[in-house]
């Protein structure tokens, strides 16, 4: 059990560093990194506090199994994040299509105006 929690801590630290590195390289915008950073920090804290997870596991009927409670919590958080980012990506795609259509229409108008203006 202790080893599993240690592995979780290491994975969470790697996630934290990866996200920070990505922010520094401008691969992720700050507003989209908050969820990942929060999740990584939460995983680090919870994996270092087995008593909290043991308490939670007992109260949701998982028995004396802190790693299972931790993984279920992490899975729930990640699912919510995936859902949130699916919504964001969908909105961005809609905006992107509308913008591409507008650019094409404006270019069309510009070309026709150019043709009407004498050289």
């Amino acid at each position: 059990m202790e080893r599993l929690l240690n592995v979780t801590t290491v994975v969470a630290i790697v996630l934290l560093l990866l996200v920070l590195f990505s922010i520094r390289r401008a691969h992720i915008r700050v507003e989209y990194s908050v969820g990942w950073l929060g999740t990584a920090v939460g995983l680090i804290v919870l994996s270092r506090m087995p008593s909290v997870m043991r308490f939670a596991a007992r109260h949701v009927g998982l028995g004396d199994d802190p790693p299972l409670a931790l993984f279920l919590t992490a899975a729930a958080v990640f699912l919510m994040m995936f859902y949130r980012y699916s919504i964001i990506v969908s909105h961005l795609r809609d905006d992107n299509i509308a913008l591409a259509q507008r650019v094409a229409i404006l270019e069309f108008h510009i070309q026709h105006l150019r043709q009407r203006v004498p050289e």
């Binding site: 299509i97 591409a100 259509q101 650019v103 094409a104 229409i105 270019e107 069309f108 026709h112």
Partner: protein, 270 residues
């Protein structure tokens, strides 16, 4: 010989027509499609929407006398068609007829579609391959798919549609206004029917004799078919489930899909 050229410009008059041709990598067919439209609908401006083709589609279309709306990146069929609808609506066109860029839709049928739009209150006229026996041959899988969608759409639309996937459609300005703001972006034909039905607009099918494609490849491959069915079903049901305070179609007079045959006689189904 210089091809005829009728520039797409702000529409004048109450019966202005714009022919839209969405195209993606159709350099082999687009010039003949544009020329055929010019031959059968002389004087009508033709707008080819180039969905960021990687070949010479734009060049061939312009050389044949069409105007080209060039999209900055690939949007897919729905995004391309909607771009054309948006431009047509902004320019004030009264009627827009969409013809595929692969040469399957005979331009000789455009005047019949236009005439039906002008002489009726239907917001949309669909050129149907299956309304009459016209020699059109589909693969077994496509026949099954068509039958499936007919069965699904019948209770939703309150009327059978013979060719729900036809891209040979004409719309009037009321439908144009709707499509300019709300149009399905992938595999749009079937969902577009539901979009119009939700607004209590009326459709009609007229028989058209379509040709097999001569160049290029269909966007619906065997691998994509399953995804296509799931995607379209989801789109249809999402549109159906959208809350609408207006009366249900069965409560609204004249909200059915009707069909008309070559005789010009309306075939209203009860």
């Amino acid at each position: 010989m210089t091809p005829p050229r009728h520039p797409v410009k702000p529409a004048t008059g109450t019966d202005s027509l714009l022919v839209l041709i969405p195209a993606y990598n159709e350099e082999g067919a687009i010039a003949s499609v544009v020329s055929e439209v010019h031959r059968y609908v002389p004087g009508a401006p033709v707008l080819v929407i180039d969905d960021c083709s990687r070949d010479g589609t734009s060049f061939c279309a312009r050389s044949a006398g069409a105007d080209v709306l060039a999209l900055p990146h690939h949007l897919g069929l729905g995004g391309a068609v909607q771009a054309g609808y948006k431009l047509a609506f902004e320019l004030g066109y009264e009627y827009v007829i969409r013809v595929d860029g692969d040469g399957q839709h005979p331009a000789a049928d455009i005047p019949r579609i236009l005439e039906k739009l002008k002489s009726s209150d239907y917001e949309m006229v669909i050129g149907s391959r299956f309304l009459e026996a016209n020699g059109w041959r589909s693969s077994f899988a496509r026949k099954m798919g068509q039958s499936f969608f007919r069965a699904v759409l019948r209770p939703i639309l309150g009327q059978s549609v013979h060719d729900p996937t036809s891209g040979f459609v004409g719309v009037n300005r009321r439908a144009l206004q709707v499509f300019a703001s709300s149009f399905p972006l992938e595999y749009p034909e079937i969902e577009a029917l539901v979009v119009l039905q939700r607004r209590r607009f009326r459709f009609i099918e007229i028989p058209c004799k379509m040709r097999p494609r001569t160049t290029g490849r269909s966007t619906i491959t065997a691998v994509k078919s399953f995804y296509y069915i799931i995607h379209v079903l989801l789109g249809v049901f999402v549109n159906v489930l959208k809350w609408d305070r207006r009366p249900r179609p069965s409560q609204a007079p004249g909200s059915r899909i009707d069909s008309v045959h070559n005789t010009g006689r309306d075939m209203r189904h009860s």
